[in-house]
């Protein structure tokens, strides 16, 4: 019978690396999916998975067993990814002083172009989704990914962002609005 996460955490706290190995092997795939959604980049996502487990290992003593280990890991991964997005944003601002908060820059970048067939259309939509995600601020992207893909509650997302319910909701609204403005032209072109 498989050991539960709680039992493995208990052993890992006592220095049992084999128990921690099982936890790593069990949760790596889902953490990668979250990190990829957050970062939009395979290499960064893999780094985030590593970083998440390193932090989790360091902080095992702080983990409260009454909550789910998986939820705790997701929260660490989201925080690591958010930090990365913020660093990226700072670098982008230094390199190219553009107001990424403004959605006004999107229409020109994402103007629709007719696709010759359905396959190309999907590729184009995918590219535009990825591009639009890149244009979200770190808070918007985090809030959107955690709500849309992870199904987390406003309260949970707020605790990751360090924001209240209202600010968290605003981040989700803005993310969806920006995505809509970016994608609607190309989606309308086929409907």
């Amino acid at each position: 019978m498989e050991d539960s996460d709680a039992a493995l955490v208990k052993r890992a706290r006592g220095g049992d690396h084999d128990a921690f190995r099982v936890l790593v092997e069990r949760h790596s795939q889902v953490l990668f999916r979250l990190a990829y959604r957050m970062t939009g980049n395979e290499h960064d996502a893999e780094d985030m998975v590593q970083e998440t487990f390193l932090k989790a290992h360091r902080q095992l003593g702080r983990f409260e067993s009454r909550s789910s280990f998986s939820t705790w890991l997701h929260r660490i991964a989201a925080n690591c990814s958010l930090d990365l997005l913020r660093k990226r944003q700072r670098r982008a601002e230094e390199d190219r002083p553009v107001d990424v908060e403004s959605a006004d820059a999107l229409p020109a970048m994402l103007s629709p172009s007719p696709a010759p067939d359905q396959q190309l259309f999907h590729v184009e939509v995918r590219q535009k989704v990825e591009c639009a995600m890149e244009q979200l601020t770190p808070m918007e992207r985090t809030a959107f990914v955690l709500r849309h893909y992870e199904g987390q509650s406003i309260e949970e997302i707020g605790s990751v962002l360090g924001a209240g319910a209202s600010a968290t909701k605003q981040s989700i609204f803005r993310a969806v609005q920006k995505m809509r403005r970016a994608l609607e032209p190309v989606l309308d072109a086929t409907s």
């Binding site: 220095g15 190995r21 790596s28 989704v129 989700i172 609204f173 609005q177 809509r180």
Partner: protein, 269 residues
């Protein structure tokens, strides 16, 4: 109800609207709002259609392989990491391959020569990365520490090679554990090799260079090998006599270390 705003429609979609039933009822009767909501749903569908790159089934093991060397060692000993202890337990059943026995005598002579040339020169405070700040440690004590360090390094390398050679070959061979150890060893080995070259001990530098090449090859190979790939891999290591070279040099270093300890004890008494 009034026409719901875009914000309210987004909240409705995510199940956060204060009154979901009321919004749903309104959407049934109001074509304009329904159309607006459908436009949002097309956006969410497009977002959902973007795939996440697949990871292989062994991804978790790969993550662990990279993570393991970065975790603090849980064992109490300051000198032998638990990974080595894990390996050592499995090494108890190891038998030297025939090629090693055949080459033994000639290599032992060579290693004795290398060991003799290399170790007496360990007298500078700046060698092996040591600085003048450690000058208060006596030359003998420093030499003994260095001998112990490199002895440990060679022992670890030896165990990694033994473990690799004795891996089970039923189907895919998982060498991620050995890779993790090899990655740890490469950097340290490079430092020792460079020092040996700087001291002009080309024999020792050559053994360490061979070892480094082998460790890098282990580090860079796939974490899981087919039986055929693994056989080729093992053959290359066997052909280089790497394991036996390391074993012999390691014995020489340990002997020097014991000698240095005796000399140090003699001086103190």
């Amino acid at each position: 109800m009034n026409h719901p705003s875009e914000h309210e429609l987004i909240l409705h979609h995510y199940g956060e609207a204060p009154d979901r039933t009321e919004v749903a009822r309104h959407l049934e009767v109001c074509e304009s709002c329904r159309s607006n909501y459908q436009a949002l749903q097309r956006v969410w569908s497009a977002v959902d259609a973007v795939p996440v790159p697949e990871r292989s089934e062994s991804y978790g093991a790969e993550v662990w392989g990279r993570l393991r060397p970065r975790l603090p060692q849980p064992c109490q000993s300051n000198t032998v990491p638990s990974l080595i202890q894990d390996l050592a337990a499995r090494v108890m059943t190891f038998r030297l391959p025939r090629w090693a026995v055949a080459c033994g005598l000639a290599l032992a002579v060579g290693a004795a020569f290398l060991g003799g040339r290399f170790w007496p020169q360990l007298d500078s405070g700046t060698r092996f990365g040591m600085t003048r700040s450690s000058a208060h440690i006596s030359t003998q004590a420093r030499e003994r520490i260095l001998l112990k360090e490199i002895g440990d390094h060679l022992e670890r390398s030896q165990l990694a090679l033994i473990e690799l050679i004795n891996s089970q070959t039923n189907g895919l061979v998982d060498i991620s554990l050995e890779q993790a150890l090899a990655r740890q060893l490469v950097d340290v080995n490079r430092l020792y090799r460079q020092t040996a070259s700087r001291l002009g001990d080309t024999g020792m530098a050559s053994v360490l260079e061979d070892l480094e090449r082998t460790l890098i090859e282990i580090s860079n190979s796939p974490a899981k090998l087919s039986a055929g790939e693994f056989a080729d891999f093992r053959r290359r290591i066997d052909t280089d006599d790497m394991l036996f070279k390391v074993k012999v040099v390691s014995s020489q270093v340990r002997a020097k270390e014991r000698e240095a300890a005796r000399e140090l004890a003699g001086k103190r008494s």
